[in-house]
Symmetry: C2
Subunit: 117 residues, 2 copies
């Protein structure tokens, strides 16, 4: 991920409804959620949720696929992971010791990373 893409990602995530959408889709997993279901759960109008979904799609944070009458959206884990990497690599570029605490987060995903010093 380059700086331009990170900028777009941060911009996309800097709006409450969009951040909530991404969090919902991350939890929803590969099955994703239909636009209507997202709108209903967040109590936002269909046209408004559509606007924000388009923004998230432009930033590459989500993907979409038509499924019968619905359009199902899914989180793009690669891009989200790339954003994490971008933040941490920047950190390491200068002073590795100060960003070590952030590395502990890895413990929640990868058992081998547990109990880092």
């Amino acid at each position: 991920m380059d700086e331009g893409q990170a900028l777009a990602s941060f911009g996309a995530l800097s709006q409450e409804t969009r951040l909530q959408i991404v969090r919902m889709l991350v939890v929803a997993g590969p099955d994703g959620m239909a636009a209507g279901a997202i709108a209903e759960k967040l109590e936002v109008s269909p046209s408004n949720v559509s606007f924000h979904l388009k923004e998230l799609d432009r930033a590459g944070l989500i993907g979409q696929q038509r499924e019968s009458r619905s359009i199902v959206y899914t989180a793009n884990y690669d891009v989200l992971g790339g954003l994490v990497r971008f933040l941490m690599e920047d950190c390491c570029a200068g002073h590795p010791e100060v960003c070590a605490p952030a590395a502990q987060v890895a413990a929640c995903c990868v058992p081998a990373a547990r109990n880092v010093p």
Copy 2:
């Protein structure tokens, strides 16, 4: 870090000049950089850099301290680490397997986390 703080952080990082400032300060380390030095390096007017520094400060991403005539800014590594954690915990909340790749980033900071599966 709660959702509100993450939202503020994303907003602060979603502007090119501000993202560049944060990256510079992260690399600069605990010594930080004076406002003037930042402005000069990024070729931005003093008043404009001051505007963005204030935004970053409001979001908690940087700190400041007067040093003689200059005001020296430093990155807030805790908050940046908290942002990484926020992104990854969200990820883990649903489907740990999809965010494992992001955990590999930890290898750049903590030797113990190297070679994760």
